[in-house]
Symmetry: C2
Subunit: 293 residues, 2 copies
Amino acid sequence: MKKINRVAVIGGTHGNELTGIYLVNKFERSPNLIARSNFKTIAILANPKACKIGKRYIDIDLNRCFLRQDLENYNLSTYEALLAKEIYQMFGSSNTDNPDLIIDLHNTTANMGITFILDSQHPFNLGLTTHLTSVAPNIKVLVSGKHNQDSSVLRSISPLGLTLEVGPVAQGILDASLFQQTEEIIGTILDYVEVYNQGKIPPAENPLTIYQKIQTIDYPRNELGEIQAMIHPRLQFRDYQPLNPGEPMFLTFDGDEILYEGRSTVYPVFINEAAYYEKGIAMYLTQKQMVGY
Amino acid sequence: MKKINRVAVIGGTHGNELTGIYLVNKFERSPNLIARSNFKTIAILANPKACKIGKRYIDIDLNRCFLRQDLENYNLSTYEALLAKEIYQMFGSSNTDNPDLIIDLHNTTANMGITFILDSQHPFNLGLTTHLTSVAPNIKVLVSGKHNQDSSVLRSISPLGLTLEVGPVAQGILDASLFQQTEEIIGTILDYVEVYNQGKIPPAENPLTIYQKIQTIDYPRNELGEIQAMIHPRLQFRDYQPLNPGEPMFLTFDGDEILYEGRSTVYPVFINEAAYYEKGIAMYLTQKQMVGY
């Protein structure tokens, strides 16, 4: 077992997701809150300029700038491409034997509650999230990538990278209850790492429920790319609930229903996320699975 | 009684408030939906560039550009200042004997449901909103300005100007249920105007409940202007509910409560509206009143 030497608590990867920004500000004022005995914790804002103006990004989405080929491409010079290289230097490139635990704090307008997003099913992350879901059973675990697949998101620069996605909350506002819940979970993670470093984590007894991303679904659009339908009211805010074949997904502006035509039950998440309209994503479809490890 | 010759249904005064934008698009495709027998209805997007990029505004907030002194100031040349002059030419300057009914469609992140905002207590508007609240008792009426007071908001260019404020919904997303409710209310308004023009509106029997704006409250801030506290979880989403002296308003990042220290019960609205952080507004305080007319 390798010890964890550093934990990075990152806020403001998107400048209009305020929970992480204000938590990092708090941790900078009171570093004792995130200090533990046997590792170092660093709290930083990933995109300071975007935080200052309260927008998701300046030039391009920072959380899509971490493909290895882009990090190594010195012709890319947008503000966020340069930031990504800096962040990769800090937490990604060295210490492949002792990778840093990265907790990247995000908000969503979808009703996803407290969700951990993993790119890989690293045993440490599965152990950690199993522990967290045993403490707080409402926490969900979404596996977005595949093991060893290159990824463009910040968390992917470390095999121990996690996104903590919290919602629903509108962009640009602080929700006090979600702020407090997020702070508490960060504390629980740091406590877990401290005990882990002492070699005292007992084997998990229960399997972990994960939601494995299988595809994204776009809004119905016309040939000009204009949206032709909305999330159906019966699907809105029903993240992590089963969607069965034949059930409604979208509602056109004239009131016609568009049904889910897949063959098996899926569990949509990121339903009606504001930031994903420009990405052509109305929701992710996931499969619910149990994993042991 | 003066007949109403034109009704303007305006969407996209803010480019990230999608209900109005997609409704105006729908009415442009199907003008029969807003056509009535004895007046003309016009549906337009107020800020097309902001709608295209999905931001509230390009240079400055269009819905603060309608002070008379600004409309007459030819040195003002921001995109929105010019737009405001165009809109004023269309719906504000002429026909003072037969003003246009303006319905300006907005969304809010606050839990305000369906709210009509009036600047003045014009008898027509009071009659209309009394009718609407008798049909749909959940509709609220907020009186924001004072009679004959100059105002910077779009609705103020006509004595019959109304804002239809719908929430809660995050900026940049479509909520199908709110879309359908808003469309239905616009239809009810147009039906009312048709009957009004026929001289067939019976006198209202019931008084109208209004919420009169008395002041705005900012977030607690430090000397740098940085926010020091969040809306208290017990106040979040409680728009139009009574707030009594001694009840909590804010929660600091360290968990300390800040109480409402006024002397009388008030009814906060626009609680935690995303667009108002930059304006120094955490909420409006209102008084609940009954009006006859």
